[in-house]
Symmetry: C2
Subunit: 243 residues, 2 copies
């Protein structure tokens, strides 16, 4: 039972909130019982699991060894704040680009969006989410939380646009073709850019095709990147399955 805020494991978890420390150590923290469970379900071995020693609660015995911590000490190192039940520390993993259908993100700096796209890709395609330059760290607490544990089942890849193979289809609101016009031949990589700026001109130019999601003329300036990725994955996956 950990009762000191100076405990080394607690200090590690607190430091892992900083990207610099995640990069230096190659580790990350998953905050919350649901995420620790998702890691176990995906077969990941934690470096450590700390569980809140809540009075009267006996957590189920799990295969992974864990250490109990005084609740307020666990809360203090968690970005979830009060009531955090468990935090696991894991070694980061990255997949290789591939699959018959996958997603490439370029300059998507919001960790919530990166996590949401990882979750949608886990539901809808067989390839990983490939993170290009300027993307948020998929192993930040916010991205891991937004992925709802899909980072464990489907670790993202890291690559530049020109390292991708297959047909690279750039999502671009200014394209004349719509998604439904795109030949759903695998391997297909759906490419999306930042929320407002969209994809860089060099990516649009190098893409094998550009396509837009049909939206209303009186609609917002843009769809969110997470919504756009979900729609594009759904459209491509459905048509691939039917062809």
């Amino acid at each position: 039972m950990i009762t000191s805020p100076h405990n080394e494991q607690l200090k590690t978890i607190r430091k892992l909130q900083a990207k610099r420390h995640r990069e230096r150590t190659g580790l990350f923290a998953a905050e919350g019982e649901d995420l620790v469970d998702a890691a176990a379900a995906a077969g990941w071995s934690p470096e450590a699991v700390l569980r809140s020693a809540v009075a009267g609660v006996t957590p189920p015995e799990r295969g992974t060894p864990h250490t109990y911590v005084e609740p307020e000490l666990l809360d203090a190192v968690s970005s979830l704040g009060s009531g955090t039940r468990a935090i696991g520390v894991y070694r980061q993993r990255f997949s290789r680009p591939g699959g018959s259908l996958s997603v490439y993100l370029d300059g998507v700096g919001d960790p919530g969006n990166v996590g949401a796209v990882i979750r949608a890709a886990h539901a809808l395609c067989d390839g990983p989410v490939v993170l290009g330059p300027g993307c948020a760290d998929p192993y930040s607490p916010k991205a891991v939380r937004a992925s709802m544990g899909s980072v464990f089942a489907r670790p993202p890849a890291q690559a530049a646009f020109n390292e991708l193979s297959g047909a690279r289809v750039a999502l671009d609101p200014a394209a004349s073709a719509t998604l439904a016009d795109v030949e759903p031949a695998p391997p297909l990589v759906l490419c999306l850019g930042a929320e407002r700026e969209g994809l860089r001109p060099e990516v649009l130019k190098a893409a094998n095709a550009c396509a837009r999601i049909p939206v209303r003329a009186d609609g917002p300036e843009s769809l969110g990147v997470a919504a756009a990725a979900a729609i594009a994955l759904y459209e491509a996956a459905t048509r691939m399955a039917a062809s």
Copy 2:
């Protein structure tokens, strides 16, 4: 120029972070220059607009009158924190259910999801997002932010499931039919429930049809509600336009 933290307008904005105060007054605050601009673009007249008196920055003259505030005072009442440039106070509006295609949410308690669905509906359908029991307040700072201003262009409605007219299609991962099996005849209301629990049994039972979004067997437990709404709206809107 407001230089006192005891200014009444600042106090009002701070209080509007609490749902209780929003309900009592019927007002809400939109934090950030982009949202204040979205309100003006949608023709909303603010009750007040406060702008940060950042040294050296002369904001463009706008039609809406505004008051300057010392930057740190504006930051202090904003949930965005440091660097807030503008906050507008508005009177809440609600639409009536309707349109050839719309969305009904039941028990969606996360304000980020409510805002994201309002944004997706603004892009993809002509009807409002109808909020049923247990939904997050669409006028909380987090929901307004997640809507990216679409609450102004397309204010949500509030109604119970049995008050809706038209074909009510319940999104349900356990349904045997898929979305593509649903007759895209207007008026159509796509109904979605909470992130994990899904729709309540009485809603599933009363719906005119139940349908699922095809997902991978090795995928996550569920799609996020915002991703599911975006996909369902896209599928229904595309097929309605083609029929």
